[in-house]
Symmetry: C2
């Protein structure tokens, strides 16, 4: 497996576009298209929020009931959530319009929206946008990057990646893009994520791969603990790589899952590190937990702690807050038997062990905590289970962005 | 029942003091004493955090095993949490020292600490502090206020209240004080709270009253979602009011519980409204829920949402975030059947109903959201259960305070 340039257009037969449609934002790209030259197996995971945006309801139906999918239309600026019947009608109109413009059935068009909740999408702008997208769609790096830019809201950078992996002598590519960066919390982490691959894989196995993957990738990140109404992760597989179709578990499936996980963890980390107002990626690795579930719970509790996040922002080795967050996570353990370490590119120090603070240098700790990626290592000494969670620090800018997001 | 002046010294036979002991803070009161002239029935509720501070472990033992208690010694600045054996030894030394200074058994002395986790308490300063407290202890309003000031950390105001209630022809007084204002989250909300009463009530009934009470008072507040290692709520009842001792449920017990609830809700609201960096109290009342548990879950989910808290700080009627927070709370409901209202001293408006936004005035909404106490009313239209939760907005100052709390 190797990482290559590009994102959603890296895999064979995938085209993309990003255009200005002025859905809400002005003078920037705000609509994206992903299009496959041939129909695809599709799978998705969606928000667990009881309040589901209209596009989530639309896409769930498509990936569950439709035999294939071939395009995804995305807009940023307005989430199309809490919009009642009008919101559902909008999804249908988008799919119909895109189907006509692309010459494919309406029920093979997936839709996604991100932005303000409660506002209706202006249908005339979105249909004009779809026509522009259909005209602009193209292969290649630039088109993929345009799409990655168009789906951004408060993100500061586009997020994409692609990898190649050999399956039975054929080169298979997996690419992806995603956007954050507020309302980001496990289950499904709040985000839009789109993955494309030219692998030949059955819909059933694609779904299996995606479901297993998110538990340790996107569902392990949090920016602010708010699980959005719009979380959507979609994957389209068009089979153009020509590998023998993956229809069961085995070596090919494992290699595909491994490459998929590389892509999803890369995107999840990028999303966490670009959380609203973030100045650092904040990673927590829990080792030696009694169970996988405990390891995940403990790791997530630390990266979700507002106090810990604020301390990371302040480069303050206030490790008591980490122990506190482990303690209220719900997992059982003996605090006397936990080891805590801080780690970054600047080094690694032992902070807490045997029930009390270690004799560490505050100066060294501050240096480590000033890195762009700060890791807390926690050894529970209870078993073999491990998990990693990703978040970011809590800064003034998080408050600034969210105190006045709508205007 | 009527509210009267004062706090922990309002009830008969209670004395208090607050002194400068320089445990960590300099040039401010940082140690407090509550002392009853006679021994008391005592009850307490404590943090559910697996990581329990030494004073929590000490107090749990006293209220569960000791027949009575007579004094509470509190320090601010250092939490005595994650301090191992040395921390437990410190509690014992404090109790011994206070017992000697006050002429009471060491096992009738409760202790509490709040502040930085992981630092050891300098024993020489704390014992000198206890001697000063014992010498300074006095009846009356001033002594009570001194104590309420001494327990503050990042609180901006001392928090106390007292009420009188007639029980069987006798006037019974309940007073209390508490401190926040970070690491504040349900179960047990992160706080120190101390209640005193001259009611005659058995230890068993006192415990029953306190346990039932916190579910709808202190456990319904949150500042930042972090459940502290030190949460402690203690109540001492010395019986000096001369009422017929409450030993079972009945009218007297109900009236006592009602007065207790008035005191605890008052203190809980004060604590939430004085959360770190807060500019407003943020209240959420859920009505028409399917069950009491659902009502509590829904109300807490809203006041804990970082995005909603930031919107309240920005006086921005971004109600989609509220619906989103209800949706990920874990409670089941139909989003099409929920009504949302904003309310403050400036008025009340209907924001969301029938699955979409109501036709409200943004100007009026902003005015309502600019009040010092902002309430979100949620009607689930599913049943009769109600619950109220209290939090605060999320401001720049929260980040400022917590990015550099230790220094």
């Amino acid at each position: 497996m190797k990482q290559i340039e590009g994102g959603i257009t890296a895999a064979k037969g995938f085209q993309a576009a990003g255009v200005e449609a002025a859905v809400k934002y002005q003078n920037r790209k705000d609509m994206a298209l992903i299009y496959s030259e041939v129909s695809c197996a599709a799978a998705g995971t969606f928000t667990t929020n009881v309040v589901k945006a209209a596009p989530v309801i639309w896409d769930k139906k498509i990936v569950e009931e439709s035999p294939f999918a071939q395009a995804v239309v995305v807009n940023s600026g307005i989430a199309n959530a809490c919009t009642g019947k009008q919101g559902m009608d909008c999804c249908q109109a988008e799919a119909k319009c895109a189907g006509e413009a692309l010459g494919i059935p309406a029920h093979s068009v997936l839709v996604a929206s991100t932005g303000v909740i409660g506002m209706q999408i202006p249908l005339d702008r979105i249909t004009k946008g779809i026509e522009k997208l259909a005209a602009a769609k193209a292969e290649g790096l630039e088109a993929g990057l345009d799409a990655a830019k168009a789906i951004m809201t408060t993100d500061t950078v586009p997020k994409q990646i692609a990898v190649e992996v050999e399956l039975g002598g054929r080169t298979v590519t997996i690419g992806g893009m995603c956007k954050g960066s507020g309302m980001i919390h496990p289950n499904m982490c709040t985000m839009l994520g789109f993955l494309t691959t030219d692998a030949a894989i059955s819909k059933e196995m694609l779904r299996k791969a995606l479901r297993a993957d998110v538990a340790d990738s996107f569902n392990m990140i949090s920016v602010d603990g708010d699980t959005s109404t719009n979380d959507t992760l979609l994957i389209l597989a068009n089979g153009l790589a020509g590998n023998v179709e993956i229809t069961a578990e085995g070596e090919d499936f494992e290699r595909f899952c491994e490459a998929l996980h590389f892509v999803t963890v890369y995107l999840a980390r990028k999303m966490a590190g670009d959380g609203e107002g973030a100045t650092a990626l904040f990673e927590t690795k829990v080792m030696g937990a009694a169970s996988k579930e405990d390891a995940r719970t403990l790791a997530k509790s630390v990266i979700c702690s507002s106090l810990t996040k604020a301390a990371i922002f302040g480069h303050d080795a206030n490790w008591g807050r980490i122990l506190c967050a482990l303690g209220y996570s719900g997992a059982q353990f003996d605090p006397e038997n936990v080891d805590l370490y801080f780690q970054s590119e600047s080094g690694k120090i032992h902070i807490y062990g045997n029930g009390t603070a270690c004799d560490y240098s505050e100066e060294e700790a501050t240096k480590i905590l000033s890195g762009p990626e700060v890791t807390v290592l926690v050894d529970m000494h209870m078993g073999e289970a491990e998990a990693t969670a990703w978040g970011c620090d809590l800064s003034y800018d998080y408050v600034k962005i969210n105190a006045d997001y709508r205007s």
